[in-house]
Structure formats: structure tokens, C-alpha cells
């Protein structure tokens, strides 16, 4: 991440700048993405690219795409990041989540070999209390801890689902367990991860 040189530093602003630096460090990618629509800065985009494109490609390969197609879809996903940056809402999702969703949708479209119809979920009204604003950083720290604490059986169904795009039924066949067990493991994993959201409100 590049450090932005603050203009006209004064003593009073120093603390604020320090806070800002911490915040940027904590959730810099989301900030960078949020400003992309306004700034149209190619160097900012290149930073995002270098960080996210290799991860998006890894995701797409796991989703069942051959490497050449995965590279093409990665480029397409990142191009979509540039073109749709104005649709990113800073308080609503982290950059990772938003980019994951874009890449996922492109994968699905490609796998179905047809243009999916474009529609968007209704724009959330901006919360007066900015409920999700700045939650991501705290959330994500907690969530990665939560992941490592999930029982293996629960982590496994999440991985098969998110990383390999396998449906409940496919997972049930692959693991040789009933459909109901796949779903209950998924529910338990989700509940555990959600309890990390819950701690927010304490």
C-alpha cells in the first residue's frame, strides 16, 4: 500500500492521521476499492490487481476451470472490478467479499455457458448508524480465527461448497453421508462463524 502524503500537517491533525493510517492498514483494500470509482486511478487498480488477481485465479481454478480459462476469467473479473467500482458500497462488504462475489458470478455464468440476466438486489438504504461500517476488519480477524477452530467435518463442507462449488447433494455423495447431515454441518459452521458477528454487539 502506498502511504498518502498528508497535506499541510499540523499537530492537531497528527493523531487523526495516525488513526487514519491504522485504519488504512487494517482495511486498506476496501478503502482503495471504495475510492476507485471517483479516482479512476490506474496505479490504485494495479495495487488491487496484484493483491487480488492471484487469489481470484486460485479460486477459479478450484471452482473447476482449466488454468487457461481461469486466467481469462481472472482478467475478466478484475476488469469488472474496474468497471463496476461505482457499485461498491464501502460499509456493506469488504473488498474481498465484493470481489469474491463478482468472480463467483462470472464463474457461474461461464459454467452455465450463457449470460445470466443481470439484476441487483435492492440497494440497502444507508443505515443511520452505519451498522456495517468498519465492521469488516474486526469481523475478518475474528472470522479467520473462527475458521481455524471449526471442527474438521464442518470446515470440510464449507470448503467443498465455497472452493469447489459443490452442491449439497454432490457433497453428500462425495462424503457418503446423508443430505441432511451435509446441511446440518453447514448450519453449525455458519452458526459458529455468526457467533463472531454476535460478539460485535456485546
Amino acid at each position: 500500500m502506498t502511504e498518502q502524503q498528508p497535506e499541510g500537517v499540523d499537530v492537531n491533525a497528527a493523531a487523526a492521521i495516525e488513526d487514519e493510517a491504522k485504519k488504512r492498514e487494517r482495511d486498506g483494500w476496501s478503502d482503495l476499492l471504495a475510492t476507485l470509482a471517483e479516482s479512476r486511478s490506474k496505479s490504485d487498480f494495479a495495487l488491487l490487481y496484484k493483491h487480488f488477481a492471484p487469489r481470484v485465479k486460485a479460486y477459479i481454478i478450484r471452482f473447476g476451470m482449466p488454468p487457461a480459462a481461469a486466467e481469462e476469467l481472472t482478467q475478466e473479473s478484475m476488469l469488472a472490478v474496474w468497471r463496476k467500482a461505482h457499485m461498491y458500497t464501502r460499509g456493506k462488504a469488504s473488498a474481498s467479499t465484493w470481489i469474491f462475489t463478482l468472480a463467483r458470478n462470472l464463474c457461474i455464468d461461464r459454467l452455465r455457458r450463457e449470460k445470466a440476466v443481470e439484476y441487483e438486489l435492492p440497494e440497502e438504504e444507508v443505515d443511520p448508524d452505519q451498522r456495517h461500517y468498519g465492521e469488516q476488519a474486526i469481523l475478518e480477524d475474528r472470522m479467520s480465527k473462527a475458521f481455524s477452530q471449526l471442527p474438521e467435518a464442518q470446515a470440510q463442507v464449507l470448503y467443498l461448497s465455497y472452493y469447489e462449488g459443490k452442491s449439497h447433494s454432490e457433497i453428500s455423495e462425495q462424503l457418503g453421508i446423508p443430505l441432511g447431515s451435509v446441511k446440518s454441518r453447514m448450519r453449525l459452521a455458519f452458526a459458529k462463524l455468526k457467533s463472531y458477528w454476535g460478539e460485535q454487539d456485546q
Partner: protein
């Protein structure tokens, strides 16, 4: 007032992109009307973002970034742009993209007494269709091999689980054997998406299965 929602496991599978097209469409249609499920769907997508961060990065082609940078100034291709269709009181926007906003204008096909259907013909595993059921009519008793999602667009029905009204979803799997019946004097129209064929139980069901081809 929506009172029946999706199972967490369903929202997780949608976030992961692991749902049939019809099921995704049905889920997105309900999300369009349901704040509560939107919140949980958002949480499930957060999990995806987290997992993306934890992946070991893959090697990109050497010219990967430069090829994309070269495209940044080009306008997005307009050819693929489809005008958005807005939804209506009975058809949520995601569904309206495919069938328009007027349920009565669809070419419904009869499937026997008091039952009509409109198949969205999405292809892939399972099925996605609208059912239009006359008052007092029940769908044959059936179980599911996989998952079955139902969303009510008009009227209401009751089954072994409860009463379902407009906007409600029933989220069922192979643990459930049920027989929905339309419980008012108004017809019921619902969207049904499955990821595996239904299995009808009982003599009537076996008779009906080849006939209605659900």
C-alpha cells in the same frame, strides 16, 4: 409479512455459487423482498471473502496485469446489455427478468384437474417452474431426493409444516414428505425449484408422476 425463510445451509450454498440456476433465481427473488434473509445472505458472502483471502495465490501469466490495464479505457461492451425489467407486486425483480411482471399473461399449461404450470426451462439439474393451483386442490404427496424450494407469489397454501403466504419460502429436503393444499378460496401461484426430481408417494402420486412429469 414474510414468516417462512431459508435454511442457513441454503444461503451458504447460494453464496458459494453451489446452487442450480433455478434455485439461485428463487433465492434471489425471495431476498428481493426479505431483509432478514438478505442479512444472512450477506454474512454467507462474507465467508466467501474470508476464504478468498486465505487462498494460496496462483501464478498469473506474465502479461496478466498489462493486458487488463490496456483494456481499462475501453468502454464496457454494450452488446450484452439487457434492459432491466422492474418487478411487480407479485413478481420480484429477479424473476421478472425472465417472465415479466404479469403472472396472468404467461402461457400456462394444464396438468390435470385444478393444476397449471409454466416451466422456465432453465436446463441443468432439477427443475424450475411456476405452479398455479386452484383452491382446495392439493399436490400429490411427495418426497424429495434433493432439495426443493418453493416461494409463494399469490394466495397461500398449507402443508404438514405450516401455512405459507405471499413471499414465504418452504425450504425442504429429503427428510420431508409433504402434501401442500391450497387453503383459501383463492388460487395459489408459487415458484418451485428443485435440484433433483421429486418422488411421489402413494397410489395417486405414482399415477400422477408420469402424467405431470414433475
Amino acid at each position: 409479512m414474510i414468516s417462512h425463510h431459508f435454511d442457513d445451509a441454503t444461503l451458504v450454498a447460494r453464496a458459494a455459487g453451489a446452487m442450480s440456476e433455478g434455485m439461485s433465481l428463487l433465492i434471489d427473488s425471495h431476498l428481493h423482498w426479505c431483509k432478514e434473509c438478505q442479512e444472512r445472505a450477506w454474512q454467507a458472502e462474507q465467508i466467501g471473502g474470508q476464504l478468498l483471502d486465505q487462498l494460496t495465490p496462483a501464478e498469473l501469466l506474465e502479461d496478466s496485469l498489462s493486458s487488463v490495464l490496456a483494456l481499462l479505457d475501453e468502454d464496457a461492451p454494450v452488446a450484452t446489455f439487457k434492459p432491466r425489467v422492474s418487478g411487480s407486486d407479485e413478481v420480484p425483480e429477479p424473476l421478472a427478468q425472465l417472465i415479466g411482471g404479469d403472472l396472468d399473461a404467461l402461457p400456462w399449461r394444464g396438468m390435470g384437474i385444478g393444476l397449471q404450470q409454466y416451466d422456465l426451462n432453465l436446463g441443468g439439474a432439477g427443475a424450475c417452474r411456476l405452479l398455479r393451483i386452484k383452491p382446495g386442490v392439493s399436490v400429490p404427496h411427495h418426497t424429495h431426493k434433493g432439495n426443493e424450494l418453493t416461494m409463494i407469489l399469490r394466495g397461500s397454501y398449507s402443508d404438514d409444516i405450516g401455512r405459507f403466504c405471499k413471499g414465504d419460502v418452504a425450504d425442504l429436503d429429503d427428510q420431508v414428505k409433504h402434501q401442500p393444499i391450497v387453503d383459501t378460496e383463492h388460487e395459489c401461484i408459487c415458484l418451485i425449484a428443485t435440484d433433483a426430481p421429486l418422488q411421489f408417494t402413494g397410489i395417486m402420486g405414482r399415477l400422477a408422476q408420469p402424467f405431470i412429469g414433475l
